[in-house]
């Protein structure tokens, strides 16, 4: 119905009751607590940050754990799981959750530890892999890689940056130093490298070293004291062991799958506590008392007072809320689903009225007109109804589903007006099997059509009566805009801005009505043309006289008044914008008709019927997807741009009470 009246509230209570009082306030969710950064004179803050951090760390740990669990054994969730509401938990069970919290956190720590071990092992595996790749080249070597010699020989094991044959390498070494005596063995060659073992007498160690260095010799990066083949074997064994460890760890983690629900509820439990300590952090304390300040809707004041005096020794006082009070909306069942659409734009500001009921009506109405198919409408009603029944979604999601359910009803009605049930499916299928030539319904412009029609009453056929429908669309637009301006009128009136109400809004409203009468006269009788013209001209004169009233001097007033008439262009473009009602309504119908035509193309044999069913389902699903999106988006646009621009300021803040802010569980309300 409206914005709820807000009161400020101040609760002063004894410190010994703090825990009890805050817990009850959190459970009831009645108050929005004001969190100021600094304390007032004579009051102190209590630092609860360390405790809060512990809780937040636990929340973070459980979040991480759930992610790990999801990676290893994904939760079996259908596509529609996101509609599902939070699990309902008995308030008494919170105690059980709290008692078990430590155990759950230990499990989480264990899981997180196992996960860390897995990733460490994976890193180790990678290192082993590179080592193995390096050892591959030394596979045939039968001495340790770090061997540098024996008593009488110097051994050089390493790589040269070029491909050599044994012969060529001998020549190259001899060319470096003809005096050098040596034996060599090529172990392995590949692109640009030669793995080689060179043995020289110990007395010529430096000579050999120099000669080899000249050729670019380098010892291996990580020489081992083992024979390469053995080393590789050991690495492989290690790798196998790591793989096994990981498998074990993953199996253990997977074994914790059934803990998932408990982890979730524990996470919410810690979230509650972190919230509570966060609030305490922002409260003013003295030695014995503490102060809570905030906002509460007027209708909840008594409940709040009763609650406070029941659980704590305290003083509660209420005051008038100022302009910066948060906004809480309350609407009846019909309008409530549209509240989400309103808050998506902006919650109402201090001077605004709550336009939700109007918004809701026009939203359903225009959505139906654009989607306009009885078949689709019925599908929407059934689908949203089933989802609400089966998933029991949370309030917000429930409202969204309700919104589409109401839109579905409107869609069905408009579908009947336009003579559309899955496009022209009944007629198309009937014709396909009987070979006759019936149509869905006669259009209003062609009533004495003699072909057989399936529907008894004439309909507005968007294809044949496009012009009529366009006029109807713009007429609806006019009503929509006039309602918007009516709201502005009411707002101005409430603020005692009578000049604004009559001159700025009233005259324009009258002028638009004048034009409408004039237009109606063009089709019907010339009398109306005169009446309309007189109204419009009178209003125009009125506007010229009044719109410059804020300006100084007679010239300024005159210019201001005449210039205001230029606004007529914005009204015209606003009105034309409503032609989308025709365009989108037509789109749905024609697309459906195209798919019906395609699906009935293959004839009445078995293959043809299978084909028909297939194309029918796929085609109409595509059509529903595309056009429901179009109808939703464009309805929203008509509300936001055409209607809200006439009166709605927005910019309010939503009422966000201190409550049990959970992700997975919801406490059962037992009042």
């Amino acid at each position: 119905m409206a914005k709820l009246k807000m009161k400020t509230v101040r609760i002063i209570a004894l410190r010994q009751d703090r825990k009890r009082l805050l817990e009850h306030l959190q459970d009831s969710g009645l108050v929005q607590i004001t969190k100021s950064e600094k304390s007032r004179e004579g009051f102190k803050r209590v630092n609860m940050s360390p405790q809060m951090q512990v809780f937040e760390r636990n929340v973070e740990l459980t979040e991480r754990t759930l992610k790990i669990l999801d990676d290893i054994s994904p939760e079996k969730a259908g596509m529609l799981a996101s509609f599902k509401g939070r699990r309902v938990v008995d308030p008494d069970d919170i105690g059980v959750i709290a008692a078990n919290a430590q155990e759950v956190i230990e499990t989480c720590t264990r899981i997180a530890g196992l996960d860390k071990q897995c990733s460490d092992n994976d890193a180790e595996q990678l290192r082993i892999k590179t080592q193995l790749a390096q050892l591959e080249a030394w596979n045939t070597l039968d001495i340790p890689l770090n061997c540098t010699g024996t008593k009488s020989t110097a051994v050089f094991i390493g790589t040269l940056p070029e491909v050599y044959s044994e012969q060529r390498l001998k020549q190259a070494l001899a060319a470096e130093n003809p005096a050098l005596e040596f034996a060599l063995e090529i172990v392995h060659t590949e692109a640009n490298t030669t793995n080689v073992v060179v043995i020289a007498p110990i007395s010529q160690k430096t000579m050999a070293d120099d000669a080899l260095r000249a050729l670019g010799f380098a010892r291996p990066m990580s020489p081992t004291h083992k024979i390469p083949k053995e080393k590789a074997e050991r690495l492989r064994a290690k790798s196998r062991q790591l793989t096994e460890e990981n498998e074990q760890a993953k199996k253990e983690i997977a074994g914790y799958t059934e803990m998932r629900e408990r982890i979730k509820e524990t996470q919410d439990y810690f979230r509650f506590r972190a919230d509570k300590y966060n609030v305490i952090n922002h409260l003013d304390h003295t030695k014995h008392v503490f102060v809570i300040e905030g906002y509460v809707p007027e209708e909840d004041c008594e409940t709040l007072e009763a609650l406070c005096s029941r659980v704590a020794t305290c003083a509660v006082e209420f005051g008038e809320a100022g302009d910066d009070a948060p906004v809480k909306l309350k609407n009846n069942k019909f309008a409530e689903p549209a509240q989400g659409i309103l808050t998506m734009y902006s919650p109402p500001g201090k001077t605004d009225i709550d336009p939700t009921p109007l918004l809701a009506f026009f939203f359903y109405f225009f959505f139906g007109m654009m989607f306009s198919d009885a078949g689709y409408g019925i599908l929407m009603i059934i689908a949203t109804g089933l989802m609400i029944k089966i998933f029991k979604p949370d309030k917000k999601m429930r409202n969204n589903l309700k919104l589409f359910q109401y839109c579905g009803i409107s869609t069905t009605i408009w579908g009947l007006v336009f003579g559309s049930f899955f496009g022209d499916a009944p007629a198309a299928i009937y014709n396909m099997f009987t070979g006759s030539d019936v149509v869905m319904a006669h259009s209003i412009s062609n009533m004495n059509d003699t072909t057989r029609a399936l529907m008894p009453m004439p309909v507005i056929d968007p294809q044949k009566d496009a012009l009529t429908l366009m006029i109807i669309s713009i007429a609806f637009g006019l009503v929509h805009i006039l309602v918007g301006m009516g709201c502005k009128f009411v707002i101005c009136w409430k603020q005692k801005d009578y000049a604004g109400a009559f001159f700025d809004t009233g005259l324009w409203m009258l002028m638009l009505i004048g034009f409408a009468v004039l237009a109606a006269g063009l089709i019907t009788t010339p009398v109306l043309v005169t009446v309309g013209a007189v109204i419009a001209i009178a209003c125009a004169v009125g506007l010229v006289l009044t719109q410059g009233r804020g300006k100084k001097g007679i010239v300024g007033k005159a210019i201001g008044g005449v210039a205001s008439l230029y606004d007529i262009t914005s009204y015209i473009s606003d009105l034309l914008s409503y032609s989308r009602l025709l365009a989108l309504g037509l789109t749905t119908g024609v697309m459906a008709q195209v798919f019906n035509m395609l699906s009935t193309m293959m004839g009445t044999n078995v293959l043809g019927i299978v084909f028909m069913i297939l194309i029918f389902i796929i085609g109409h699903l595509i059509n529903i997807g595309l056009n429901a999106l179009g109808a939703y988006v464009h309805t929203m646009r008509l509300q936001y741009v055409e209607m809200f621009s006439k009166f709605y300021e927005g910019g309010g803040k939503e009422f966000e009470p201190f409550t049990l802010n959970s992700k997975y569980i919801k406490l059962q309300e037992d009042k």
Binding site: M344, M470, R580, A583, L626, H634, Y640
Partner: protein
């Protein structure tokens, strides 16, 4: 001599040009939204809406094309189109053809910005969405002009 070729040409112009506009628009929007999704997959629903917004032009073009095919009798296999009617179809198709082509591309650009804005803060979604649909009115006007002509063409005198 009759205007069947011109009628078919009209259907082709409406479908193809408007289709190009939408394809370009949706294409650029889809590229951006995939970039956003790689960072934050949970925004898929919102991204999908913004990506699809420039898709309507192609739809309008197709509908005009389809209505031309129906009303000229090409679909029922017995086209009866005079030269004058053929020119009327071809002329009507130019409105949604070019209107759809350019508004589709322009709307695609707006959608890209809307996506970037939504990626920064999801609360911006509705503002982005409404701003993107502001472009659509011009495609709609073109569509309605094409439509009103196409519906009346069978009544034209030969």
């Amino acid at each position: 001599m009759n205007g069947v070729f011109l009628a078919i040409l009209g259907a082709a112009i409406a479908t193809v040009l408007a289709g190009i506009g939408s394809a370009k628009g949706v294409g650029s929007a889809a590229q951006t939204s995939m970039g956003v999704l790689s960072e934050n997959p949970s925004m898929f629903g919102k991204m999908l809406v913004l990506t699809l917004l420039p898709g309507t032009q192609g739809l309008y073009g197709f509908i005009v094309g389809f209505l031309i095919l129906v009303s000229s009798g090409v679909l029922s296999g017995a086209p009866t189109v005079t030269m004058a009617q053929g020119f009327a179809y071809a002329g009507a198709s130019l409105a949604i053809g070019f209107g759809g082509l350019f508004s589709g591309i322009a709307q695609g650009k707006a959608a890209v910005s809307g996506i970037a804005m939504t990626a920064k803060d999801e609360k911006n979604f509705s503002k982005g969405m409404v701003s993107v649909t502001l472009v659509e009115i011009y495609a709609l006007l073109a569509f309605i002009v094409s439509l009103l002509v196409v519906i009346q063409v069978p009544n034209f005198a030969a």
